[in-house]
């Protein structure tokens, strides 16, 4: 038991409840003393003494509780009273606008184009501005999943074996992030604050697939680097359109290695697979 206790390290878990709404600005004039102290903090002064509160007395809620002594840990486990039993929207229905400013149809020319199932040409007067946002799913790929596959564009980095690009560790999507986190830490709950990088409109199903700028040091950034691709906002024709995990999509300028068209991503080997046979 002592050996086990000796192995325990000073692991600290800190919960900081937001109290910005309770914190008064430093320059705010202090309220009268009789209104400042809550009833439970009122100290009755002795009859013969008049106790004046200090002029800059800090409100009780401003007091930062010192960490408890190591010999007396909190008796009731962890305090998540603010967070338990809170119902929030599931990740599949994040709050975000359903209209996008730069909608256009996907490229319809080039060697890597999709079948007509996904990209019908918009008719006259049809607008994609009211298309719904494509749902997030937990599949490994976007809407082209189960479509016939075209040729594989080998990764110029020539990774040997599965997941070698990730040091042999299997990459699994985090379902509460756009693209499973492949393109960076885009939390679904905060996507409304993320800057759009174009979008792809599905005119047949009237769905919109927003795109965001790939974050550095992400697996997606590594993919682009390996292929020598430069990301650009989705929308114009003749781009490289890469469908990633969970209905995510990004676009890039074509180069000598990857021609324009739609591609699926194989995260196992970090390779692109054309959607055109």
């Amino acid at each position: 038991m002592k050996r086990r206790a000796a192995r325990l390290h000073a692991a600290w878990l800190i919960l900081a409840l937001p109290c910005a709404a309770l914190a008064a600005p430093p320059n705010r004039p202090q309220p009268p003393p009789q209104r400042q102290a809550p009833p439970t903090r009122v100290v009755q002064p002795p009859p013969t003494r008049v106790v004046q509160p200090p002029p800059r007395q800090i409100a009780p809620l401003h007091v930062v509780q010192p960490p408890p002594a190591r010999s007396s840990p909190p008796p009731q486990g962890f305090n998540f009273n603010r967070d338990i039993n809170v119902h929030t929207p599931p990740p599949s229905t994040p709050a975000r606008p359903v209209t996008q400013p730069s909608l256009t149809r996907p490229p319809i020319t080039g060697p890597g184009n999709a079948t007509g199932h996904f990209v019908p040409t918009p008719g006259p007067g049809r607008s994609a501005s009211n298309f719904k946002r494509a749902p997030f799913n937990t599949t490994a790929h976007g809407p082209y999943q189960n479509h016939s596959r075209g040729p594989v564009v080998q990764n110029p980095r020539h990774w040997n074996g599965n997941w070698q690009w990730n040091r042999g560790v299997a990459w699994q999507p985090a379902q509460t992030y756009w693209g499973g986190g492949f393109w960076g830490a885009f939390a679904l709950g905060a996507l409304a604050n993320a800057v759009l990088f174009g979008s792809i409109a599905d005119y047949q199903d009237q769905l919109n697939y927003p795109s965001y700028q790939v974050l550095p040091d992400s697996p997606g950034a590594q993919l682009l680097q390996n292929y020598g691709l430069q990301q650009t906002p989705c929308g114009p024709d003749n781009l490289v359109v890469i469908w990633g995990p969970d209905n995510s999509v990004i676009c890039a300028f074509p180069n000598d290695t990857v021609g324009p068209g739609n591609y699926d991503l194989d995260p196992t080997t970090l390779t692109l697979v054309s959607e055109s046979p």
Partner: protein, 112 residues
């Protein structure tokens, strides 16, 4: 701010199990999208569950990051002047209700 020292940290696969010193609360942090930044493994906090008082509570997480140093030497944290010791973990996440949680310490157990 509340501090919980001497928590027990166990890593199983990509899931962290953090047990309070009084053994009454267990925080289960499931990570995903794990990739590498040098020798450091960096994951995104996917789901967090609190097991406490015989009940299970799913805690809605807005976003979070977990750094794992499973190497034999201390590693520099990205965009930071600090290092993460060998066999140590750094967790930081924000819940949907605005609670910030930070965990830092050495792994007591690690198993694949």
């Amino acid at each position: 701010m509340q501090t919980y020292p001497d928590a027990h940290i166990r890593l199983r696969g990509s899931t962290l199990w953090i047990t309070s010193a009084d053994h009454r609360g267990v925080l289960q942090v499931v990570n995903g999208a794990c990739s590498f930044a040098g020798e450091l493994q960096r994951c995104l906090t996917d789901t967090v569950t609190l097991h406490q008082h015989g009940k299970t509570h799913v805690i809605a997480v807005e976003h979070g990051t977990v750094y794992l140093n499973l190497s034999t030497a201390a590693q520099q944290l990205p965009h930071s002047g600090q290092q993460l010791a060998s066999q140590s973990v750094l967790v930081a996440f924000r819940t949907a209700r605005g609670t910030f949680v930070s965990v830092r310490g050495q792994l007591d157990e690690a198993a694949k």
